[in-house]
Amino acid sequence: MALKTDPTTTPIQWLDDNESRALFDEQARAMLGISGVDFLSRWDAGEYAGCADEPQASRIRRLAALIPFAR
């Protein structure tokens, strides 16, 4: 599919690498009350593996889905 974007009809905020990392940090603080770096350390260490189906765990999974913004 050809890449065609129209800034007048596509309400997307485009981010550079620094902005995407800042957004990840902002989301980590809002969702879990920790920094983005802290979340990544805990995630990589497996601290969230097997987390239960609680609202807090939903936020962990959402933040995990945002990890590409941080790396």
Partner: protein, 163 residues
């Protein structure tokens, strides 16, 4: 509510996300359904002119949640694996408790799911009011384009579905 995405990173993995302030974006309607979307993609150069670039999907996380933020259902595809969830094929998580057997920890194979189909189920089955009268035709049109261009496992176009 805002869509955020990596800017031009030709040949690199990019992410698009629909984000609320803290919890998923709240959709209108009596059930106060939440919607959280991430979609990984890659833009590659394939030629010149109007067809110079192609966009390839590299993963997705389409989630519908309840008013309290708890996940109801989540369509996942992370082909490169994920810490704590090594399943690489497209699957569904049924995060709500399901009786008489708790199915919430399963990875239920789904085939590749389009974002259009998730929006469609929110409108049809979760009482989310559409913003425009031609919503079905619009979703069908874009889903068809997705099916026509998918390099693997695209959804079966609704126009080709059972009569």
């Amino acid at each position: 509510m805002q869509l955020r995405a990596h800017g031009a990173r030709l040949g690199e993995s990019c992410l698009l996300a629909l984000l609320g302030q803290r919890d998923p974006v709240r959709l209108p309607g009596p059930l106060k359904i939440g919607l959280f979307i991430t979609h990984e993609y890659e833009v590659i150069e394939v030629g010149s002119g109007d067809e110079r670039y192609r966009v390839h999907s590299r993963g997705y996380h389409y989630e519908l949640s309840a008013e309290d933020g708890r996940t109801l259902v989540c369509y996942d595809w992370h082909p490169d694996g994920q810490v704590g969830d090594p399943v690489r094929w497209p699957h569904v998580h049924l995060r709500s408790y399901t009786a008489p057997i708790n199915l919430s920890h399963g990875h239920w194979p789904s085939g590749r799911v389009s974002l259009e189909s998730v929006i469609r189920v929110a409108i049809r089955d979760l009482q989310v009011p559409p913003l425009r009268e031609d919503w079905e035709a619009l979703l069908d049109k874009h889903e068809q384009a997705f099916a026509d261009n998918a390099s693997w496992g695209g959804p079966r176009p609704r126009s080709a579905a059972a009569p």
